[in-house]
Symmetry: C2
């Protein structure tokens, strides 16, 4: 993308309304604009990050056999009356009446609808297990929306729902999904620590939340640093084998991890002192096993081996995709701006032309740009160098390829690594090789 | 995808509620399920088609320099009061009050919001032109939703908005977008005929709609068959040159095309008799140039070369993405089911195993399946052959790879072309080569 032709309105000043770093940086980097309280438009750079994250989430869901579908945002109140949640759900649910005076709502979650869809489609125990997911915009009418997309009202979420024949199979599914989550967060370039969670109003007996470490996190967290050092992508788990899943789960949960609410001082004392980590975390994922709560209340059964009806065991599994954009920034920035992990960065690199119109600078920049015009930002603006450097740091591209007249004479490009700040001088071919390596 | 593990609930019977072919076939093929009047969930196969279409639309928008962003579905009523449309828009607009009693609405279109976002970001004439688009779920509270996703209430739409400094530049943008539309529809495997349209309530002077030919179309259409024979993808238009755009536009609009509302008998008589085509069409796209209607009413100006404020000229450009799924089916099906154009088909091919458990059949099927497990459907169900053939025809995969014990002994696969019905016997390698060619 050529910056001179881009809709990329960066801000030099910190917007007064933003109280936390990610909100400030997302506004300043031209990623989002607020259009109503707690409601945001995603401008091109923000949308690129949102989509990169969603695609990684999608890939890891598919990898454990979950199937993607897409439910509508508008739901009929009738469904929620069947489960008994219509009255129980508070004012966060946006209730709507359509032109025929039918009660509708903008879905805050989809347990009822997916259970109903499942029940229409699946009739026999032979078709189980099934895991269905979507990545979809949801609405919760927060009384005091704040912190930008961290706690907005309209938000993008991956929600998966599983249906199993019995409890043991449901536990397998739960563990499989836990592995998918650990892999997802690792591929996103952040560490999310899984914590045993209170099951809260959704109910059920098994629940974990995943927290990204950041000083601005809403929860205090205590964990064994061994959890940060695992390589979940390299972990060799056979997700079709109950034994293999159990081994993974037992190994993983043997390490202490808890939010302040669930903290157990005795267990904590047993963690080797050198591995005790305390900090704060931002919740970005939550998984639940809640048994037959919805299948029973909505009377959704499949026929069992003997023909008798069986109520499947369910679980639900959420990842806050739009919230992750902010959470990653909270975990990865410095005073100058965002530091994107390569996998989610809006562009692999920015090409900074220090002298637009100089034949050698232009030629080198165009040659670099041609390598991946859809995935590189070319700063071809008639701006002074300082403004270009500041925007490059603010936007947080993994690499900056700086082309000035002095280096260009010798066919050289200065390459700056945003995370380390390290600068090297490279030939054009070497710079092209570096571009090719990012997200390879 | 292995069909035995898939959420793909096909129906043998025609659902009583469906009045038109596409609605019947989408329900029968397990693509959609209704969750409330005019509101649908997209099941995995339906979502795959929807996404394939969206990706082609996106690609061609990007190719003419449009930039993708994403606006929220929930809008503040204040914006619409500024343009004067809040009271003018009828009961199709779903009006909502949030928990703080603020007037909101579920966006039926986004002229107001994009004009406001543009105004916040773009301050100088030097940054023009800009074309911004999104592919987003919208809501129009149709009084009598019907025909499935053809006329649903919650629908998926690509809407683009352009901002130009003057009328000539706006006309260039309009023509560029028209070319993008012709290329988009051609890549989708359908012919959409551009028709000069009445500008209607949005106003402005230049407008075309694009209609896909199908006997169930809501409009009568008259057109010169030369329009069907053009290859817009091969057309050599320099979209950066006004002359080249004008030549394209003049050439294209020289051919007669009109809906019954705009039909001109005298002009029609001049079309060579052998090229006169009459039929019915389904509107799938609509483009408008409407000048300064919103920039003036909302007072959104940029500073011109002399510093004085200038109100940009706007256009808007819609494609009904969810409607296209149905429209393509109306245009491409037979008595047995859907016939997908390869570019949008949910899978490139289905592999039909006629004897699950037969070592040779299983081995050949697995070998074929391994070529593209994400983009092939493997019918590994314990069903009789007739049911598998019927579902394959119903779902409309471009190719069917039929593996039975007789052929398998000789390492042979029967390949059926869904569109022509032609069957050939192929070696496994030849079948793999055919799979590789689809969507290549």
């Amino acid at each position: 993308m050529r910056l001179s032709r881009s809709f990329l309105p960066t801000l030099k000043e910190n917007p007064a309304e933003a109280q936390i770093t990610s909100h400030r940086l997302m506004l300043r980097a031209g990623m989002i604009r607020q259009t109503a309280a707690g409601i945001y438009a995603w401008l091109p750079v923000g949308l690129r990050v949102l989509r990169n994250i969603a695609n990684i989430v999608r890939h890891e869901q598919d990898a454990v056999g979950a199937q993607e579908l897409l439910m509508p945002t508008m739901q009929s109140a009738d469904l929620w009356k069947r489960s008994g949640r219509y009255d129980a759900y508070g004012p966060e649910m946006l209730r709507i009446r359509d032109r025929h005076e039918r009660d509708m709502l903008f879905g805050p979650t989809n347990e009822e609808m997916i259970t109903d869809l499942f029940g229409q489609a699946v009739k026999s125990y032979k078709e189980l297990p099934q895991v269905l997911y979507q990545i979809q915009w949801k609405f919760r009418d927060e009384v005091r929306p704040r912190f930008g997309v961290m706690r907005g009202r309209e938000f993008y979420m991956k929600d998966a729902y599983s249906f199993d024949l019995d409890h043991d199979s449901a536990v397998d599914t739960y563990r499989r999904m836990m592995l998918a989550y650990l892999r997802t967060f690792q591929r996103l370039g952040v560490r999310a620590i899984p914590m045993r969670a209170d099951t809260g109003p959704i109910g059920g007996e098994l629940s974990h939340e995943f927290l990204i470490l950041a000083p601005t996190g809403e929860s205090g967290v205590f964990f064994d640093s061994a959890l940060e050092d695992q390589d979940w992508l390299a972990e060799n788990v056979d997700v079709t084998s109950r034994d293999s899943l159990e081994e993974f789960f037992t190994g993983m949960t043997a390490f202490y991890a808890a939010t302040d609410e669930m903290h157990d001082a005795d267990a904590w004392a047993k963690v080797p002192a050198g591995r005790q980590r305390e900090g704060r975390g931002i919740e970005v994922g939550h998984i639940f096993n809640f048994g037959r709560k919805y299948t029973e209340s909505m009377d959704i059964a499949v026929s069992g081996p003997d023909g008798a009806p069986l109520y499947p065991e369910m679980g639900s599994y959420g990842i806050g995709v739009s919230r992750l954009v902010a959470a990653i920034i909270e975990a990865s920035h410095d005073d100058n701006g965002i530091i994107w992990p390569a996998s989610v960065a809006p562009f692999r690199a920015v090409i900074i032309n220090l002298k637009n119109g100089d034949a050698q600078c232009d030629a080198i920049c165009e040659k670099l740009y041609a390598a991946a015009p859809d995935d590189l930002l070319y700063d071809d603006r008639a701006e002074r160098a300082g403004a270009k450097f500041a925007d490059a740091d603010l936007l947080g591209h993994p690499l900056q390829l700086i082309v000035g007249p002095r280096g260009a004479k010798d066919g050289k490009v200065e390459v700056k690594d945003r995370r380390t700040g390290e600068r090297t001088e490279e030939t054009v071919d070497a710079a092209l090789a570096l571009i090719a390596k990012i997200r390879a």
